[in-house]
Amino acid sequence: MKLIYSRPKSLKKAVFHYCPGCGHSVAHRLICEVIDEMGLQEKTLGIPPPGCSVFAYNYFDVDMAESAHGRGAAVATGVKRAYPEIVVFTYQGDGDLAGIGTAETIHAANRGENITTIFINNAVYGMTGGQMAPTTLCGMKTTTTPYGRDHLLEGHPIKMSEILALLEGVAYIERVAVNSPSNIRKTKKAIAKAFQMQLDKRGFSMVEILSPCPTNWKMSSVQAWKWVDEEMAKVFPLGVFKDVTEKKDAD
């Protein structure tokens, strides 16, 4: 029998600190698979955020550097402008990218920075204990919306992929999910495509990944994975929001 599936090379042999059923772990593995398949392990620099994935550098076997909360896109801008030969990716949570880092993300995208962003949308501030994120669904109870998010007071969940797709500097935006075998496969493809955009110097690329957080959603892993389809994807529809390599009708 042949070994047909095992741990990717660029994923260090360490036990994840994530909770059982957490989407971060899956996203990590997929990125590593892409890095391996594209042969990027020796020329990649990853920028993880404060957030549950703060320890991502313990898993990715590529150069990695911590960033201040929300500033991943700015850090990556500095990296790439100073040394364009590197392949740089930021890894950011929804609090990080859609909350405190809104301006940095939008402007890096607008400038068309040639960087890749992996955006983990788990509708919650995971690391800090389950507070409302900008992407929390209406009605969802979190530690800072104990009565459920009320759009009249806290607003509707913000849709970063849709917003960023408006910007001309953006090369590629897709929203995927890591909650089923087929979605996971699509996620991997999207990640590969995003890195390819960077290699081809097309501009800003981002993959938004809907990612289960069983702990803060207070669900079992299996429930949480289902909930992504049943609730989250209704508010955050999956799909490609921008792809400059696609033939456009209206061109």
Binding site: Q41, E42, K43, T44, L45, I47, P50, V54, F55, Y57, F60, D61, V62, D63, M64, A65, E66, S67, A68, R71, A74, V75, A76, T77, G78, V79, K80, R81, A82, Y83, E85, I86, V87, A103, E104, I106, H107, R111
Partner: protein
């Protein structure tokens, strides 16, 4: 050449190829100089960031991959960079940060001031850290200290702050550059340019183990001790026979010098001690001067900040008076001369 442009030119000659900034008066000429010289040149990077926060984090990114990188701003913008500076210091990343101070607090005035001394010298961001702080007092020195800043930053893997002020940035004076711009961009060792032929590296501070962070703190402070020993500099002027020594930095020192000349002309024995490195502060030099002089006047364009360093250095020796003008007011040398003279007589020195 105006002071701001002189910094720009000096930085480029020091091998700085990456500048990230955001407009704010009175330092725009620097940003504009860098736009002119770096924004379209191969191997160079100029980004007008969306904010000071973004700019300092771009510097962090460029420093990660080993580039000599710089940002500049003025007081309110520097406040916004504090988190980023704390990260740079913690991660031992070199960087040069220019603060052309203006009057504060709040939006304040755009006139020259020196009221960010505490912020610069005591690590205005969170946590225990220091940055080297240089206090130029002429356009020539702006240029010289900018070059020195890049060298110190690399040598000690530390952010270096150039604490100038609005007037220095705006004024024009002749300036000579002591060095040609290098042809090649220097790349710092140990930078994160991909794990080719070596294990992958991590730059980080976060830990769930405080002892690990404590060790980082100790190692930073061991370095700081070294810097104190090796890099402290100051200028003295006619202190040998002085019965009263004025201590001032930057533009204030320059004004004070003029005042002292006036006073000397009238036979008053007054000297000047001008810290050039504000951190590390020239404690030993102050102590040395205190051996022969018992009277000090600290003059700052703020409400009294460096005076604490002077008092700490003196530890009760000698008497220290203070003259301060905050908010962007730039007193004339004649005014300072009056203050000095009055004090001189009050203390019965003549």
């Amino acid at each position: 050449m105006d002071g701001n442009s002189a910094i720009g030119e000096a930085a480029i000659r020091a091998g700085c190829r990456c500048y990230f900034g955001y407009p704010i008066t009175p330092q725009n000429e620097l940003t504009e100089y860098m736009a002119m010289h770096l924004s379209r040149k191969k191997g160079c990077a100029f980004v007008q960031a969306e904010s000071e926060l973004a700019a300092i984090n771009m510097v962090y990114g460029a420093s990660l991959v080993g580039a000599r990188a710089m940002t500049s701003s003025s007081s309110p913008g520097i406040s916004l960079k504090q988190e980023g500076i704390s990260y740079l210091a913690a991660c031992e990343l070199p960087a040069v940060i220019v603060n052309m101070q203006r009057g504060g607090p709040g939006l304040g005035s755009i006139s020259a001031a020196q009221s960010d001394y505490f912020q610069a010298t005591r690590g205005g961001g969170h946590g225990d850290y220091r940055t080297i702080v240089l206090g130029p007092s002429s356009v020539q020195e702006l240029a010289d200290l900018t070059m020195r800043a890049f060298e110190l930053a690399d040598k000690y893997k530390i952010p270096v702050i150039i604490l100038g002020d609005g007037v220095l940035g705006q004024m024009m004076e002749p300036v000579e550059f002591k060095k040609e711009a290098p042809a090649e961009l220097p790349i710092r060792e140990n930078s994160l340019r991909g794990a080719t032929g070596r294990p992958s590296k991590i730059v980080k501070t976060f830990t769930s183990n405080p002892s690990e962070l404590e060790e980082i703190n100790w190692s930073l402070f061991r370095r700081y001790t070294l810097i104190k020993k090796q890099e402290t500099t100051c200028e003295t002027f006619m202190v040998d026979d002085a019965r009263l020594v004025v201590i001032a930095f930057g533009i204030a020192a320059r004004i004070a010098k003029g005042a002292i000349k006036t006073a000397r002309a009238e036979g008053l024995k007054i000297g000047l001690l001008r810290p050039i490195t504000l951190w590390p502060f020239p404690e030993e030099q102050v102590k040395e001067v205190a051996k022969t002089t018992g009277q000090f006047l600290v003059f700052e364009m703020n409400m009294g900040q460096m005076i604490e360093d002077v008092q700490l250095a003196l530890a009760g020796q000698g008497e220290v008076a203070f003259y301060g003008r905050p908010g962007g007011v730039i007193p004339a040398p004649s005014e300072v001369a009056r203050v000095i003279t009055r004090l001189y007589y009050q203390k019965g020195l003549k």
